[in-house]
Every structure is written in structure tokens, then in C-alpha cells.
Amino acid sequence: MLRRFNWRHIPLLMFTIFAIAPLVLIFSNSLKSKEEFGQNPLGLPKALNFANYAEAWTTGGYGQAFMNSLIVSIACIIIICFCASLAAYALAKIEFKFSNVIMAFLLLAMSIPMGLFLVPLFFIFQNLGLMDSLLGIIIIYSAIFLPFSIFLLRTFFVSIPNELLDSARIDGCDEFRVITKIVFPMAKPAFLTVMLLVALWTWNEFFFANAFLQTEELKTVATKYLAFTGRFGNDWRLISAAGVITVLPILVLFLFLQRQFIEGLTEGSIK
């Protein structure tokens, strides 16, 4: 048994420790009392004490923030799935003039720095009353995560054989029913991936959320955390507990559905 031990596990375990150690640190700090953190900022906690979580949750107003993030995520998922699936079908299965121009535009929209459209957007939204509103942030997120989602769905649609769609057309399905009755049901796994990724992005995004949401009650989880760390300065046990609260939903989702996450994120950027 010992002879067959693969030496590669040793460097790989070091990489594992590198990836995990900071997470162990934030979790163990979240369980310490103030005094304990002062004496032992880097070690493991003496006892499992979840009081910091309750304090961070209530003083941080995390209930409201979770609700806001949930609303934003779900709304974006609906809008993106609707818009992206139709666009992806057009780009995957219909030959038309300028389809390559549209593809180039999508690629550009995906890779251009977000700062390039921040300033005018800020003032357009101010004039339209979309500033400091969840609707405004939903519109922005739906747009910025749309190109990636279109590419992801398109890749999947391309792999659906044309013969299948043709035989449905011969059976009397019009174009609309081909899409809704054949293509979409087949693409369920791709839709699941898009939903997961949109949930991930909207949960973590803060470049726009920080600029566009100023009212405390409207803040999403990520911006709430930023405000929280500003308020509690050096109280690392509370900041750690709030951090764990912020990342936990995504972490749990990831551990259950990691294949969809990993393959979605990488495949979308390759094709």
C-alpha cells in the first residue's frame, strides 16, 4: 500500500492547504469572543460559539439584505433566461445577415471594462428615477450578464441536431412551438447552469451595487457586507461572522452543484 503512494499528493495537499487555510481562518475567527480573538487571532477557537452570527445578522440587517439579493437574483434569472434563450436560438439555428456582427457585439459587450458605461448610466438612471432602486440594479445586472448567458445557451443549442427540429416542422409545428416544445425542454441542463451562474454573479456583484444603491434598506448582501465592515472597523470576529453569512448560501449551492458551476463558467468563456 505504502509503496503505491503517489508523490504528487504531497504538493497537491500543499495547494489544498493554500486554498483552504484562509477559509478555515475566517470560520474559526467567527466563533471567537472578543477577548479570545485578541489573545489568539490566528488559532482555532476554544469552543463552538455561534453568538457572533446572531449579533452580525441582527445589527447588520442581514434579513433585509438577503431578501433584496433574493429578489434581484430571481428577477435577473427570469429576465436573462427569457431574453438569452430567444437570442441564443436565433444565433444558433437561423442563418441571417449580420449574425456575425451581433456575435462580435456580444463579445465586445462581454469584455469591455464596466467603467466604460458607468458614468452615463449613472446619470441616465438618475433622470429616470432608477437610481437607488432594486429595479434599476435588476436592469443593469440583466444586461451585463446577458452576453455570457447567450453564448452558453447558444453552445448548447448548436449541439441539438437540425434533423430533429426539421421532423417537428414536418409534423406541423410552427417555429414558435419548435422553440418552446422541443428546444427549451432539451436545454434544461443549460438553463440550470445559467440560473446558477446568474445567482452567483448577482449575489457577489458590488461594482454597480455600491454605486447605485445608497439606501441602507435596499442594499444587497455584498454591499451590506461592505457597509458592515465600515461600521465595525476592527471587530474582526463580527466581520468574520458576517463574511461567513455572506458566502454561505453560494458555498452550499456550489458544493451540491459544483459540476454545473465549473463547467458552465469555463465552457462559456471558451466558446
Binding site: L86, L116, P120, E175, A211
Partner: protein, 296 residues
């Protein structure tokens, strides 16, 4: 009959545009239109309140004499050089090792990927704690008798940028591991086997057989890394706000600061335009490489 055919043809022509319409409207409203707005504002002295007046290329002349702009640009270049080397090498080594173990492949892939899905604000704050001179890694270094290695990680203008980049690197490199693993999966095994039969060493196989075949993966990774390096924002924004001085200022943080906190949206647009220009150059450059068939 003829009329019907005409109608049918029009319907067929319009159909893809009908499907694209919701996406295009959304994208033109949030991204396309505002980009044109930015290009226009870059030529004005707008302060966000009064009507913008056209000042020609004055902002660009100011940009070319702006010391902070150059500092930020140079920091972006350093950032890019760090990311093009350190995480790429780490991820290449890790993925090569993972591809050669039988057990735990999935485990290693998952574990290295976890940091990538976590909120950047949380991980940035976490690294601020690690770098904290009183409660961070310095404490452990003292304990281990390595006190001479202790640094004011985020306070020393010579190392702050590297410290911040390292935090981002920790968050990001697992993504590269997955990309490399996908590339390795597609390697042609028969060439490797032939090389083994010929008696080539593992190092030579890596260098002459595997690396050349990974070229498409490298091209993709380099394109993503260069684009993202010029857009880097999160970690600096949370950890140092560009300081100390301008030692960690990046183009994106400078632009954000000008636009949101300094009420100079006109000049901020000029900085943003320069960022867009870099991104466009990179995209066109890689488009050219693709056309030449270099990555196939």
C-alpha cells in the same frame, strides 16, 4: 399566392430579429448607448450638475500630463505581468499533477475552485485581516522565529500592490486550474506514449509534447488575463483604496473615484475611454492571432 410568398419571406427575415429584440434593447440601453455617452462626455468638462460644455481634447491633454494616470497605468501593467506568470505557473503545475493522480481528482479540482465562487468583498476583507500587522500573518511569523519576514503588507508602498494582487490571485487561480485540466483532457495520448517508448524523460515530454498542444488553452488564458488585468478593481477598492499614496491605484479605481466621489464625470469618462482603448487593442490583437490560425 405571390403575395403570400412575399409575406412569408419577410416574416422569415424578421423572425431572428424578433428573437433578438429583447436582448438587443436591453444591451443597447445599458451598455451600447452609455458607451457612446462616455465617448462624448470624455470631450466635455462635465461636473455632473451643469450642462456639459464641449472642450475638445483638453481632457486627453490633461490625461497625458496626469501623474496619477501614469502611476495607475504602470500598476495595471505590473498587475498584468504578475497575473500572466504566477497564477499561470501555479495552475499549470497543479493541473499537471492532478491529471496524474487516480484518486482525488475531483476533490482537488473542487477545493482549488472554491475561492473563485466566493464574494470578492469577503475574500478581500479576509486578506486584509491576514495582512493586518497586529492580528495577521506577522504574528505567526514572529512565533515561528521568522520575524524578519514580517512586513507592513498593505502599508508599505513597495509591496502593497503585490500583496493585493496575491489576494486576488488566491481567489482566481482555481479558475485557471479548471481551464488547464480541460486542455489536458484533450491532449493526444498516443504522442506521449510514443515519446515514452522512445525513452524521453518526463520533463522533455512536458516541454516538447504537452506544452505545444496546450497552445489554444494558453491563448485563451492570456486573452482573459490581459483583459481582466486592465479592468481589475475589486481587491484594490476594498483593501487599499489605491493607497498608500498612489502605489496601488489602478485605472478602474481611479476612474471610479473620479466619477462617484470626486464629481468629475467628464474627466472620469476620459480615463474610462483610455481603458476601453486598451481592451479594444487586446481584443483586436487576439482576433488577428485567431485569423492567422495561430491558436489551432
Amino acid at each position: 399566392m405571390y403575395v403570400n410568398q412575399q409575406k412569408g419571406r419577410w416574416r422569415k427575415r424578421l423572425f431572428p430579429w424578433l428573437l433578438l429584440a429583447p436582448s438587443l434593447i436591453l444591451l443597447l440601453f445599458v451598455i451600447g448607448g452609455p458607451i457612446i455617452g462616455t465617448l462624448f462626455l470624455a470631450l466635455t468638462d462635465w461636473d455632473g450638475i451643469k450642462t456639459p460644455s464641449f472642450i475638445g481634447i483638453d481632457n486627453f491633454t490633461r490625461l497625458l500630463q496626469d501623474k496619477i494616470f501614469y502611476a495607475a497605468l504602470w500598476n495595471n501593467i505590473k498587475w498584468m505581468l504578475i497575473f500572466l506568470t504566477v497564477p499561470v505557473i501555479m495552475a499549470l503545475v497543479a493541473s499537471m499533477l492532478i491529471s496524474k493522480v487516480l484518486r482525488g481528482k475531483l476533490f482537488y479540482r473542487t477545493v482549488t475552485f472554491i475561492p473563485y465562487i466566493l464574494s470578492t468583498i469577503v475574500t478581500a476583507k479576509l486578506w486584509s485581516l491576514i495582512y493586518n500587522p497586529f492580528s495577521g500573518v506577522n504574528v505567526k511569523l514572529e512565533e515561528w522565529g521568522l520575524g524578519f519576514l514580517a512586513q507592513s503588507w498593505l502599508g508599505d508602498s513597495d509591496i502593497a500592490l503585490f500583496a493585493v494582487a496575491f489576494a486576488d490571485l488566491w481567489h482566481f487561480w482555481g479558475f485557471l486550474v479548471v481551464l488547464f485540466l480541460m486542455g489536458i483532457q484533450q491532449l493526444d495520448k498516443s504522442i506521449e506514449e510514443a515519446a515514452i517508448v522512445e525513452g524521453a524523460s518526463a520533463l522533455r515530454i512536458f516541454w516538447h509534447v504537452k506544452l505545444p498542444q496546450l497552445r489554444p488553452t494558453f491563448v485563451l488564458i492570456y486573452m482573459l488575463l490581459i483583459i481582466w488585468s486592465f479592468a481589475a478593481f475589486d481587491y484594490v477598492f476594498v483593501m487599499t483604496q489605491g493607497g498608500p499614496g498612489v502605489s496601488t491605484e489602478l485605472l478602474a479605481t481611479y476612474m471610479y473615484d473620479l466619477a462617484i466621489y470626486k464629481f468629475q464625470p467628464g474627466y472620469a469618462s476620459t480615463v474610462a475611454t483610455s481603458m476601453g482603448l486598451f481592451a479594444l487593442l487586446v481584443i483586436l490583437g487576439f482576433g488577428y492571432i485567431r485569423k492567422k490560425g495561430w491558436d489551432v
